[in-house]
Symmetry: C2
Subunit: 427 residues, 2 copies
């Protein structure tokens, strides 16, 4: 771990730099597969499923039998845990519903804003060793609350042509309307263009490897929206002597086990705490099954000592962490002052993993500094805002003159004329 003391503000951006990746090579591959899926549909999907997943499937859709089987494979203990998490996610995202907002801006001019669901959405859930069924909850629960009509889930099949039962269990629990055994670039391309088996969707959500990330970016060039740009996961903790070093170390390690490129940063006004956390990390690291991954991420991590909380806050806002844990005597100061963060965890009993699974907040969050300009996934991610206006005779008489003058000043005579005709009809 790299220890840094009192870094000068002009060095912050260098110290806090995120790992960057070259995507140029990947882009060529992704574009080619997109072109092929657009042209050949399922034939191309079959080809790349065979190449990347090593399996040939007759049918991509998960059958009701397969779902029944999955349900029977999940332990009662895990079912109960998933139900608890689902309920909390449901409660928190339901509370985000907004009513129609109506304003009579001028007498006779009634304007309102309403949110309506995005009709067709696609969820991508990676396969591999860690089956991210928690992400199914985080995406499908708010989609269902929003009222999205079609909720399509794509996830790669394993060598036996199966999707992990926990993923299927979560999907059927949360109202996913179609589950497809398709992964990687071909899944994103399929949901972008539609194929015989894969429905075209309007917005794609979910995590993935570099190929999936680049494919989602490319999808936006074909009219599909995506949840947000992706990058490696990251955690920043601000802690002082009120923090428990073992807890802080365990949180840093929980982030570090995600991948060797995970970003882990501790900022503190206490050198004592920094040393204690460092020791704890070494102790706990040895016990972890994913030690190799965590160790590499920890090597690149930073322990930053700063002189006071204001400097700490400024530095944190410059970084804009995806996850931000506050274990400080001055937690209100940080809560009020934090401008750029995805999700904030406050106090010694609020580990990041609570938000990853079960507190109720969403774990699909902006990485890579995107907390400066993007929201994490929330109910609104599945809705779009529309505006309405209804103007009566009195209303157009009240604002008509202003429209005529402004349209004229912008050189748009037909815009003016649309008002003039109406005003004249009322004379």
């Amino acid at each position: 771990m790299k220890k840094i003391e009192n870094p000068k503000p002009n060095t912050w951006s260098a110290i806090l730099e995120r790992p960057t990746k070259t995507i140029d090579d990947i882009e060529v591959t992704v574009k080619e597969i997109f072109k092929e899926v657009q042209k050949k549909g399922d034939e191309a999907v079959a080809k790349y499923t065979s190449i990347f997943d090593g399996i040939t499937l007759d049918n991509y859709e998960v059958s009701p039998q397969e779902i029944e089987e999955a349900i029977s494979l999940i332990s009662t203990e895990l079912k109960d845990a998933i139900t608890l998490a689902k309920n909390n996610i449901y409660k928190f995202h339901s509370a985000q519903k907004t009513e129609r907002i109506t304003v009579e801006t001028t007498e006779g001019v009634n304007c309102w804003q309403e949110k309506r669901p995005i009709q067709k959405i696609g969820l991508y859930i990676p396969g591999g060793t860690a089956p991210l069924f928690s992400t199914v909850l985080m995406l499908a629960v708010p989609a269902q609350i929003a009222g999205c009509k079609e909720i399509v889930l794509c996830s790669p099949p394993d060598k036996k042509g199966k999707i992990n039962p926990a993923i299927l269990y979560a999907a059927q629990l949360c109202g996913v309307t179609k589950i497809l055994k398709v992964g990687g670039i071909q899944a994103i391309a399929g949901m972008t263009f539609g194929t015989e088996s894969i429905p075209k969707v309007y917005k794609i959500f979910g995590p993935g490897n570099q190929f999936v990330t680049v494919a989602k970016q490319l999808a936006t060039q074909f009219g599909v929206a995506i949840d947000m740009p992706a990058g490696p996961s990251e955690l920043l903790i601000v802690a002082d002597d009120t923090a428990v070093p073992a807890f802080v170390a365990s949180d840093l390690l929980s982030q570090a086990e995600h991948g060797t490129d995970s970003q882990v940063i501790l900022v503190s006004t206490s050198k004592k705490l920094i040393s204690a956390v460092e020791e704890e990390i070494q102790l706990q690291l040895n016990e972890l099954p994913r030690k190799d991954i965590a160790e590499k991420a920890i090597e690149n991590s930073k322990l930053i000592y700063v002189e006071n909380d204001q400097i700490a806050l400024d530095l944190i806002n410059e970084y804009g962490p995806e996850h931000f844990i506050i274990c400080s005597e001055f937690d209100d100061f940080y809560c009020n002052g934090i401008l750029n963060a995805g999700s904030v965890f406050i106090g010694n009993y609020t580990p990041e993993s609570a938000g990853d699974y079960a507190s109720g907040t969403n774990h699909t969050l902006p990485t890579n500094g995107y907390a400066k300009n993007y929201s994490g996934v929330n109910l609104d991610s599945f809705l779009k805002s529309m505006t309405f206006q209804k103007i009566n005779e009195k209303g157009i008489q009240n604002i008509g003159k202003a429209i005529e003058i402004m349209a004229e000043a912008e050189g748009l005579q037909a815009h003016k004329n649309a008002v003039t005709l109406r005003l004249n009809s009322l004379d």
Copy 2:
């Protein structure tokens, strides 16, 4: 105008197809200018200002003297009109403010969602013959309500090195913090990377020509967010015999004068209304200063007769118009049933130009079918949602077990451990 009767649903997408453009050539130019601005800053901005705007400037920032001069050049009539529009936009967007949402999802687990302003935003306002000062109002007013700290406006200088006074007047009225005489690709690149004169921003808003559109797309690859993808403006009207043909024609023409690629569509269950509107269009067209532009757009426009309102609604939802005018006996049916539209205008006295200028709704709206997956600009466009959670001893005891089970099932032992340590400390 192309008249179409009772088109079959499988022909809708062909009939409603939007004009597409090749952007490959432009992309090369845009990428080159981005690279140069990133590397050379103001030097590159100066070079391209000289090439594209035909002028060399010592200083890009508009001075307080220039603003004073602009204020003195605006007529009282136009000032009053702008004030009326600004007040309505302010009222409607202020009403969109949301409070902190707090939920105790489980006893001891407190979660909340809060919106905080995007700190630095950039507004792009095109130059040219029609000075779009109304767009300044539409972007700067909600940015100010949201509390964005830096609001930078870029607009190209004319041959004399000036920006249109109405744009400057609107900018100073709505809290823009810096106005720069920089246009086109170099402005977007400047706001993406930052130069000596142009501040780096987190999100860029505003319309522009094809070069600006492609530049905004490219900006997203460098971590900058944008308001939405852009396309030619479009209007769809549904009208029956309760509509006034002259009003309908005037609305279609107001859209048509925007550009030769504007999309103008009338859908009706009345052949009589369609014929009457067609006649009115010919009458009104001859009177327009921008007749040449409007005529070309009208040539490509479509008058579609359908047998009933349900078919009309389905067709309209498939299209997803930017602007949607309803002049129908069954306006409630359309209001409730419309799923994909940017802004909706209801009744004979609600011309589209009301929303373009002064009703209070925003005129920055999704085109090109993006109404299916994007919101128009609204207060939330200038904010990002952040979540917070604070869990106490009781709370972690209530949800800790579920987190442990789920983390274990996902193969993430360190995630589990962060909870186990805390639970053990409470035993």
